[in-house]
């Protein structure tokens, strides 16, 4: 997986907007490229939300606690996808289904019911274990999508899969001209369409619906 520096990504993005450093860079404090850096980081975050390419495996701090039902998703994970208990994979069960078929789920413990078998997500920041660990001290590992580290300095680097580099640059190509508006912005519709289709293909979340926008932009600009 190749490594890209912020300086490299900046230049690749500027190449898509005719190297217009007069309009597409804006200094804020010591950073002379504040706005283009913000768009690059935005592109990375969106790509990560769609594809989950930045993941982490985090052991729950403090291990499991005796008689504790609910745990918090450990930082820096923002979307948990897998939980294991002492190295054993746990099934994921929705709380409504578990509670419907097992009314006493919130009181059952490993002492009375058996080993921990399921993790029950309560949103993305909380989850429960079923049955409750009556002893505690077990290793709980959470794997999930991680918050990307923002690129701030020119020599900050990020590992990107090969197919993600054009995604980042195409995102910048249509997002940077947003502040121009008019036909210049509308001409970015091609880049937006390309980005949107690739993102839909690479998305790990089934059922995500992408906006149908580019034709509307062209129609509006043509009428104007």
């Amino acid at each position: 997986m190749p490594t890209f520096s912020l300086a490299t990504l900046r230049q690749m993005a500027l190449d898509r907007v005719d190297n217009n450093t007069q309009f597409y860079t804006y200094a804020l404090g010591a950073n002379a490229y504040f706005d283009i850096d913000a768009v690059i980081n935005e592109a990375i975050r969106i790509a990560n939300l769609f594809t989950g390419f930045i993941q982490a495996s985090v052991n729950l701090p403090g291990f499991t606690q005796a008689t504790t039902l609910i745990y918090s998703t450990p930082a820096p994970i923002i979307i948990p996808v897998r939980v294991s208990y002492n190295g054993v994979f746990l099934d994921r069960t929705p709380v409504a289904r578990l509670a419907q078929y097992n009314p006493a789920w919130a009181t059952e413990t490993t002492a009375s019911y058996g080993p921990v078998q399921e993790w029950v997500p309560l949103g993305i920041t909380l989850f429960a274990l079923h049955p409750i660990d009556s002893v505690g001290g077990a290793n709980l590992n959470v794997i999930g999508v991680q918050e990307p580290t923002p690129l701030v300095n020119a020599n900050d680097v990020i590992n990107l899969p090969d197919e993600f580099v054009p995604l980042i640059t195409e995102y910048c190509a249509h997002r940077l001209p947003l502040k121009e508006g008019g036909s210049i912005f509308a001409q970015g519709a091609q880049a937006f369409r390309s980005w949107s289709r690739k993102m839909k293909t690479l998305s790990r979340w089934e059922g995500v619906k992408m906006p149908l926008l580019e034709t509307k932009i062209r129609q509006i600009v043509k009428v104007a």
Binding site: L49, F50, I78, P94, Q100, G123, E147, S203, L212, V221
Partner: protein, 235 residues
């Protein structure tokens, strides 16, 4: 969570070609006190939380004998599931109760159902009428904040637990505030919702094409988070 309201403000100012070097500055669109932006931010943030509900909260409050109606705290968007002592209550509606249990309004027993229709906003009602008192918690209830505990089931207390999207109790914002509830990656879509409003204004900012783009990008964020919720939470 480290994204501030100021970061969303900077993004909007960059697109609107407004100055934003530090704090706020008077420009074409944003007044020197940025009140318009903050009003839009409050509206978009509540809308985004309400439509995505990927971050959830639990609120457990004491059950009282003879009391059927229970307030939902302001920072819980809408109950999606209710539990009594950890046991799931079946969601129902007035029509169903009238059809299948004509005497429901006077029955007293351990509640098995809950409903939200035919009630004031932010209220749930239990059926049958509770015939016992659950464990009490310390605190003084207010008109908008019942006494209870967050993110705990406490099943042995035999109290009412609501599970729903986490919201915020206050709708007042300052630029220096850290945006709560949402992870940083999710907050970037808030700017698009706000920009859609700016580009839809009847004034010098009006730009139909950019308003449509920003609106669709905002919708993209909502659709994405709903798709994540469907897969992870199986909603």
């Amino acid at each position: 969570m480290s994204t501030q309201v100021q970061d969303v403000y900077n993004t909007c100012c960059n697109v609107l070609l407004e100055p934003y070097l530090s704090g706020v500055a008077a420009g074409l669109t944003l007044t020197s006190n940025s009140s318009v932006f903050l009003d839009y931010f409050a509206s978009v943030f509540q809308d985004f939380l309400g439509r995505t509900r990927l971050v959830k909260a639990l609120f457990t409050q004491p059950v009282q004998a003879g009391v059927v109606d229970y307030a939902v705290p302001n920072d819980l968007i809408q109950p999606e599931e209710c539990f009594l002592g950890g046991t799931r209550l079946e969601a129902t509606a007035l029509d169903d109760l009238d059809t299948y249990d004509p005497g429901w309004e006077t029955e007293q027993d351990i509640p098995t159902h809950w409903r939200q229709d035919g009630l004031p906003i932010k209220t749930v009602s239990l059926s049958p009428i509770p015939n016992y008192n659950g464990t009490t918690y310390s605190g003084v209830p207010t008109a908008t904040q019942p006494v209870g505990v967050y993110n705990q089931f406490n099943p042995t207390d035999n109290n009412l637990t609501m599970l729903g999207g986490q919201g915020v109790a206050s709708n007042t914002w300052t630029l220096g505030q850290v945006i709560p509830v949402l992870p940083d990656s999710f907050t970037l879509y808030l700017a698009y919702g706000i920009l859609e409003r700016f580009f839809s204004e009847d004034g010098e900012n009006k730009d139909v094409a950019r308003a449509q783009y920003c609106g669709q990008r905002y919708l993209e964020g909502i659709n994405l988070l709903r798709a994540i919720a469907e897969e992870i939470l199986e909603e």
